[in-house]
Amino acid sequence: MSYEERKKELGPDDNSERLNINLLRYMWEASPLYFKESYHTYFRNLSIFKSFSDNDIRIFTTYLHRREFEANELIFKYGDSGYGFYFIHSGSVSIQEPNGEEIVNLGEKNFFGELALLEEGHRRPATAVASGPTVLLGVFKPDIDKMLESHPVLGAKFIHEAAMILASKVGYMTKEIMTLRRKIELLEKKN
């Protein structure tokens, strides 16, 4: 019997055989196969993953390392060899100068350390400390090498995005330097 014939037989208002999506969802989430630590939604909302398909994000998340930090725990310090790019999943991170003075406090859905993936022999230019209980999702240089080996298009896309972040930061810094230079020139003229 076709779907249309069955629908005619039951009548237009009878929804007894309709698929209950909510029930299915409950059953799926209650099953032991359901992986609760899915980062898909988190990355879908990040601007740098705009050009990534859902499948790209799914593959990318398999390379991630979840790291949990306590309040005031050191993530890395100024001058350390750097190999990781971190996404703040929950909590916040304080980026500090070597003397402990805070430069910026980054909250959820922010990221830091992208230079470590692009520069050979990179040294951390600042210290990062967890401001409170924090969960970071890190991707490291060996992971990127493996990604480029087994998923080259995805790896190239990710490196491209990391380079774009860096380019925008360099652009911002250039503007800042030019403004400061103009200010210094003005001050010199006044004196």
């Binding site: 390392h65 930090f69 306590e70 725990e73 890395f76 350390d80 490291f140 060996p142």
Partner: protein, 341 residues
């Protein structure tokens, strides 16, 4: 550093040391496990090449690697099969060899007495031949246990290999979760570098030994020299030992050539074959395959291989080079960190 962070570090190292102790005390399990891991490291780079790209590329890559594997495995199996015949022939000739060696040694002792006036009281030939015979007898008596361990390995190695391929990524991420935050980045990067270098080194050495062994076997077969297969294997295996390996590999062929009364067996032709095979290895194979992987000082390589051989035999000789390269990397990292501070 907070107290619980210190506890995490101590706990991590305690687990690591316990695992190492377990590995040392249960070689029956850890040896096949280690062998499977080495095989996994050797095959894994090839699988990622096969699996990437479209279906057509996958088929081409699969055919290419199957052809390469056949090119490597078929001569290896043929050599091993023929080596058994060579070995049996060699065993038959041992008493004859003993008499010949004894005769040559007596001649040498008399010559030495004439020239120097000193009488040699040592009898190294008897000592060496007695050792060879006792080792042969030991080998024969240990055949049943050897067969049972081979059967055990035949069951365990594919099983471990399957789990390494299926679960290695998940297992690695789970294992990494136990590493304390303060040492995570460095440990992870060093661990990954070691894995890559180790796999590359083992596969490069395996290919190098196969090429050298095949060249020696082919050359000896061409000139009609006896025991070409067993001498080829010896040349390939001893090649693991850098610098002195080729000389050690040449000694059995030299002994056979000196003791043989067959006019077809010429010492000059055998020496030329070994020279050509080692020149091909030194000029082509080693620079293209091995030297790019580990960048160690030649003296350090020789000392490490000798120490590795002393500690872990043939396996120790192979494993020690990437281990030393890793330790060098570790020290470099620590030194750079100290400098940065």
């Amino acid at each position: 550093m907070k107290k619980n962070q210190m506890v995490k570090i101590y706990l991590f190292f305690a687990v690591l040391i316990s695992a190492l102790v377990f590995m040392v005390y249960f070689p029956r399990l850890t040896l096949p496990l280690g062998f499977s891991y080495i095989l996994y490291l050797m095959i894994n780079p090839l699988t990622s090449k096969v699996l990437r790209g479209n279906n057509q590329q996958r088929i081409i890559y699969s055919l290419f690697f199957t052809a390469c594997a056949c090119l490597l495995v078929i001569p290896l199996v043929a050599t091993l099969y023929n080596a058994e015949t060579d070995f049996k022939q060699l065993l038959k000739h041992i008493p004859e060899l003993r008499v010949k060696l004894q005769f040559k040694y007596i001649q040498f002792r008399e010559l030495f007495l004439d020239k120097t006036g000193v009488k040699l009281s040592l009898d190294p030939v008897t000592y060496i031949m007695r050792n060879v015979e006792s080792q042969g007898a030991n080998l024969l008596s240990s055949i049943p246990s050897l067969v049972s361990s081979v059967l055990e390995w035949m069951l365990l190695v594919p099983l471990f290999l399957y789990f390494f391929f299926k679960e290695s990524k998940t297992l690695k991420i789970k294992f990494m979760e136990f590493i304390p935050n303060s040492i995570f980045e460095k440990t992870y990067v060093l661990f990954s570098q070691f894995n890559t270098k180790f796999g590359e080194y083992i596969i490069a050495k395996f290919i190098e030994a196969t090429i050298l062994g095949s060249l020696v076997t082919l050359g000896l077969m061409l000139v009609g020299f006896p025991y070409p297969f067993i001498l080829g294997i010896i040349a390939g295996v001893t090649n693991i030992l850098p610098y002195v390996g080729p000389i050690i590999g040449f000694i059995p062929a030299l002994a056979v050539a000196l003791l043989s009364q067959n006019p077809d067996v010429s010492l000059v032709s055998v020496s030329i074959i070994y020279l050509i095979a080692n020149a091909v290895d030194m000029v082509l194979v080693f620079p293209l395959l091995v030297s790019k992987i580990v960048n160690l000082h030649p003296i350090l390589v020789v000392v490490s291989v000798l120490a590795g051989g002393q500690i872990g035999g043939a396996v120790g000789m192979i494993v020690v080079i990437p281990m030393v390269a890793f330790i060098q990397l570790l020290f470099k990292e620590i030194y750079q960190d100290l400098n940065a501070q």
